[in-house]
């Protein structure tokens, strides 16, 4: 039987669960591509947290949790080669573009476009970009989680942002010639499909 953890702090663990539950499921889901398995991974991470002394984990809490989820997710992917990566629309992620009622139609369209672009970045760039901008981790924390050097993390994020910016500029150029090409009207136009991959810079 495992030795009792003398430092178990029930209230603290509950707070951690409440704070990290959704972000971690979101992170694991992107790695595994299956919501139920992602939830299992996150539950495992919290169970593991119960066995660790608070004083040891607390200073590195976020990177510890993300690392445990990442390793466990990769294990699951390795063991279950049958896990099929689902298309973005089938992951079970809901997009709530109207969360901020003050945002304009145009801002909402931009958000939708950016989400598409992030989804099309190379795997590692996407993971780093999400850890930085969705999960609020620092370069250093990301480097621990992804087991990379900080400078490589900096490169991944820089390259990802660069690709997104270039493609947004492409979109704006299209918009600029829009009045000629588009039928004017009050109806909302759906976000344009992203240009084919070949046009995009290699991330340099």
């Amino acid at each position: 039987m495992a030795k009792p953890n003398p430092e178990v702090d029930a209230e603290w663990i509950r707070t951690v669960v409440a704070q990290f539950e959704r972000p971690l499921v979101m992170y694991a889901l992107r790695l595994i591509g299956d919501l139920e398995r992602a939830r299992d991974v996150v539950q495992d991470a919290f169970l593991k947290l119960c066995r660790e002394p608070r004083s040891k984990i607390e200073p590195y809490l976020a990177e510890w949790l993300y690392t445990v989820c990442r390793n466990r997710s990769l294990d699951v992917c390795r063991k279950e080669s049958r896990v099929v990566r689902l298309a973005e629309g089938q992951l079970g992620v809901k997009v709530d573009l109207d969360a901020d009622p003050s945002s304009s139609m145009e801002q909402r369209e931009t958000k939708a476009l950016v989400l598409t672009m992030v989804g099309e970045l190379p795997e590692k760039q996407q993971e780093a970009i999400r850890l930085k901008f969705q999960h609020g981790l620092s370069y250093r924390q990301i480097s621990k989680v992804m087991e990379l050097t900080t400078s490589y993390v900096g490169y991944l994020i820089h390259a990802g942002l660069k690709t997104i910016r270039e493609r947004m500029v492409d979109e704006e150029t299209r918009e600029d010639i829009g009045p000629v090409a588009r039928i004017p009207g009050p109806s909302r136009t759906p976000p344009l499909p992203p240009p084919p991959r070949g046009n995009v810079g290699s991330g340099r």
Partner: protein
């Protein structure tokens, strides 16, 4: 990897990721270069856009049952930890007391002999509690842990899967997986013109309600999927009929009044009651192959919903044997239907036969023009007659207001409403704890076994958990 190092540095700076020495160097560069300043500003703006786009993604957290499993693990660990702490304190105390104890031993030897003699004389049924150290950690009376309840509940589910479903064990989450009751299909209303016939199983699993109560007593709401309204409603006694000389093997009674959780809707209560055993006799089987069918009158009913039995659609046609049951003496069943009368919140597509491309509107019979909302048809073979008996009981809506309904009706409606709240049913309407309490309190009159007062206590527990 080939990259533009200064640009990488500018991005890192813009995102607040540079160490102080590098930061100072870059700030010096920025002071000189408007282009570099512009680039930093652009990266910051883009970072803001990306962050706000990613923030609009939503995902559910871990499941309710996973939360429960986690919670029980936390509890177990804290208990183990405090146990270990107590043992440590006890060990230290013992070390302190050993020399004193040795000295005291000789003195005690004689008194122990006396004490033993006096014990023999005492009534041994009363245990002697010696609390030698008032500072010792207070020992709380053992109460069931959530983990134990979850474990027992899982064992029960595995041994008795809910009707028409298969429970299986998933080692991944260390729990039992059954169909998700939150599926809206389970709670849907049926159009009386298109699906006029309904039926219900004659059995239910009373143990599920015991688990619901254990969860509540432990201070947690039960998992929504563990709530079976039919089991809750039928866990209580009703005074179906005081008629001692029941001639029919099975008696059918109906009562219709306002639906407490949805203004305008009607609530129908159907009760089945088998003949009671004559005292002294062995419990006979009073009827075999019992089947029930309910036909709704589209002339009066726009749609209806069977309350409870949410996973019944899985078993439709799958195992007809479950619909043909033997019924023993003393058997009772209470079933509730929520009914939307015609003309109430009517939608065009709910009108009889409306919008149907391939059918004409249903041809209503003369009976459809009566005040009957539905007819319960009971089919069975009694022990002394091989021929199947068919009994039709029509349910007439006499526009009875809820205040004038019987205590049994109010109580069954209160229990059902409580169940809808616990399972957070999409069909719960305006259901609320105050309404549950008010209804049950009006029904306290016929409560010889104190069951209804006990129900109010259970409701209060749940309400307390919800309010916290």
């Amino acid at each position: 990897m080939e990259h533009d190092l200064p640009a990488l540095k500018r991005t890192a700076y813009a995102l607040g990721e540079l160490e102080s020495a590098e930061r100072a160097a870059l700030e010096a560069e920025l002071a000189q270069s408007p282009a570099a300043r512009k680039e930093v500003a652009e990266v910051r703006q883009l970072a803001g856009v990306v962050a706000s786009a990613l923030a609009s993604e939503r995902i559910p957290g871990i499941s309710e049952i996973q939360h429960l499993a986690l919670e029980s693990r936390i509890e177990q660990l804290s208990e183990e930890a405090s146990e270990a702490a107590r043992a440590r304190v006890a060990r230290q105390r013992m070390l302190f007391w050993i020399p004193t104890a040795i000295a005291a031993c000789a003195l005690l030897a004689s008194s122990i002999t006396l004490f033993m003699l006096s014990l023999k004389a005492q009534n041994t049924e009363n245990p002697v509690v010696i609390n030698s150290d008032p500072n010792a950690a207070k020992v709380e009376p053992a109460r069931p842990r959530t983990s134990d309840i979850v474990k027992k509940y899982n064992e029960h589910l595995l041994a008795h899967p809910p009707l028409g479903t298969v429970a299986y064990f998933s080692p991944q989450v260390d729990t039992i997986v059954t169909p998700d009751k939150k599926n809206a299909e389970f709670h849907a209303f049926h159009n009386a013109s298109i699906t006029p016939l309904s039926s219900f199983p004659l059995t239910f699993d009373p143990k599920t309600y015991a688990f619901v109560q254990q969860f509540l007593e432990r201070g947690t709401l039960p998992p929504k999927d563990a709530v079976y309204v039919e089991a809750m409603v039928n866990s209580y006694d009703y005074n179906v009929s005081t008629d001692q000389k029941q001639t029919e093997a099975i008696l059918v009674r109906t009562e219709i009044s306002d639906c407490p959780w949805r203004p305008g809707h009607r609530l129908a209560r159907v009760t089945l009651k088998a003949k009671d055993a004559v005292t002294g006799e062995e419990v006979p089987v009073v009827a075999d192959d019992v089947r029930v069918r309910v036909e709704f009158n589209p002339g009066r009913v726009s749609s209806y919903r069977l309350i409870g039995y949410e996973n019944r659609w899985l078993m439709d046609g799958a195992n007809p044997a479950e619909d043909r049951q033997p019924v023993k003496a003393g058997y009772r069943l209470t079933v509730l239907y929520e009914i939307v009368p015609t003309g109430v919140n009517a939608r065009f597509e709910d009108a009889p036969g409306a919008r149907l491309k391939y059918q004409r509107p249903a041809q209503l019979t003369h009976a459809a023009n009566t005040d009957e909302l539905f007819t319960v048809t009971l089919m069975y073979r009694s022990a002394d007659d091989p021929l199947t008996k068919i009994v039709d009981v029509a349910a007439i809506d006499q526009n009875l207001r809820l205040a004038d309904a019987t205590g049994d009706f109010k109580f069954a409606a209160a229990v059902a409403q409580f169940g809808l709240l616990l399972m957070d049913s999409p069909a719960k309407g305006d259901a609320g704890y105050s309404s549950v309490r008010a209804l049950a309190e009006q029904a306290l009159g016929d409560d010889p076994r104190g069951q209804r007062a006990d129900f109010l206590r259970i409701v209060a527990q749940a309400e307390k958990i919800v309010l916290n």
